[in-house]
């Protein structure tokens, strides 16, 4: 069974090439796979969709470039939806390297929907400290953000007049790739009872199902799949829907590798091999 041993000891660079092909080819030649909407993303969409025009929505984009592939398209889709519903967006981030991404997301959405700065949205930028900022917004927004990202005092921004805590905000949307979401649930929702919608990376999503079940969060957008579903709901084709083709193919490649690896191990053991090659390093 030399070929089985050879297969089990396959050079990892071949696997890397397979994955690279799985990512690149669908991006160059889109497969346009259909997107089915799950109840959790639909719940998030409907929670935002039900808000009356003119309502203030606080969107905290708590992520950095490492996970922008998942959360950037999600941010753009959610903000675009808000603009279409004539909701006023107050955007911020709790990550220093999230400033550039948050600004890019809101500018991209504003350009697509024709939203106007300080009338339809305010970009507050970054403040450090998770709990401190969340509690600060609940007590006195101007204590945390006396000016917006561009240095304009909040009192000089028309849409921010009279807005000084969660009480004047119809909803909080947290788009995060970290434990910031836990704190938003604890403080914005738990302590100040702000209606909360969460968007997070796919690996984090399962952590928040209990909060969805207990209605502490109104909707959950998980990963690029969730973002693609949100794009489908608002009728746009963005980076998430394009990226899902690549993700689908890479998942299939990984599943195929796992099946082939286990099949080869089974054959190897049947042939009386100790399976030395199969128990190699994970990173070989």
């Amino acid at each position: 069974m030399t070929w089985v041993r050879r297969l089990l000891a396959i050079d990892r660079r071949i696997i890397f090439l397979l994955v690279a092909a799985g990512v690149i080819l669908p991006l160059l030649h889109p497969l346009n796979l259909p997107v089915t909407v799950t109840p959790r993303v639909k719940a998030a969409y409907e929670a935002i969709d039900a808000l009356p025009a003119g309502s203030k929505v606080l969107i905290s984009m708590d992520f950095e470039p490492d996970i922008m592939a998942e959360l950037m398209p999600m941010s753009v889709a959610v903000i675009r939806h808000c603009f279409r519903k004539h909701l006023q967006v107050i955007a911020m981030t709790l990550y220093p390297a999230g400033t550039g991404l948050g600004e890019r997301a809101i500018l991209q959405a504003a350009k697509a929907e024709g939203a106007v700065k300080n009338k339809d949205y305010t970009w507050l930028g970054y403040k450090s400290g998770f709990q401190v900022v969340m509690i600060g917004i609940g007590e006195n927004l101007r204590g945390i953000y006396p000016v917006d990202f561009y240095g304009t005092p909040l009192d000089n921004i028309p849409m921010m007049r009279g807005v000084n805590s969660y009480r004047q905000m119809a909803m909080v949307v947290n788009l995060s790739g970290s434990s910031a979401t836990d704190y938003w649930i604890q403080f914005a929702q738990g302590r100040y009872h702000a209606p909360l919608v969460v968007g997070c990376t796919a690996v984090m999503a399962t952590d928040y199902y209990p909060y969805l079940s207990s209605r502490q969060i109104l909707g959950l957008i998980g990963g690029m799949k969730g973002a693609a579903e949100y794009e489908a709901l608002i009728g746009t084709i963005g980076d998430a829907r394009r990226g899902m083709d690549a993700q689908s193919l890479v998942h299939l490649i990984v599943v195929a590798l796992v099946i082939v690896g286990n099949g080869a191990l089974f054959l190897s053991k049947r042939a009386g091999d100790s399976g030395g090659a199969a128990t190699g390093s994970m990173t070989r």
Partner: protein, 205 residues
Amino acid sequence: MRRGPLLVTFLSGVAVAALYFIPHHKAQALNSKLLEWTLVVYAFALILGSLSLWGSHMKKVQNRAEGWGFSLVTLSSLVVITVLGIWKGVGEGTPVGIIYDNINSPLASTMFSLLAFVIASAAFRAFRARSVEATLLLITAIVMMVGRVSIGPLISPHLPGITEWLLDVPNLAAKRAIALGVGLGAVSTALKIILGIEQSYLGRS
């Protein structure tokens, strides 16, 4: 033994916990004031953190310790970004914005993207059905991986339903149990800190 920090911790912990449950407006005003104080404490912590970062890396550079070059890069970046940020601002089109878009953002994305390659290789070599539990995990993982992407319903129309059930029933039950355990653990740790039993935050074992 210094009793001051322990007394402050005890009083703050008891006061904030008690005020949370007292609806009287004066109690709530006091609670708000105490919460605002956290901002001041946090600002000092931030300054302390920056000074500590500077001190530890500067020491490495001065002593030519192992990896001192990386420390030099850290310090240089800290100085350059701080100066440029104060001088030219940090928005789109500023030098900081350009550095962010062209260096920071691609580097961070690239680092994270490498995971896909490593995971694929690791899955091939290490994800083995060696026992009943491992086989169950393997089958669940395969169903989830295929069922949660766009191609899943094309392979089988039942896959999305199965993945939804896995997420809504076994996953939810396990996560809820973990959350309850973590919550009880957090209450227990908070009580130990308030009562002075746990003192590691003061640098004591």
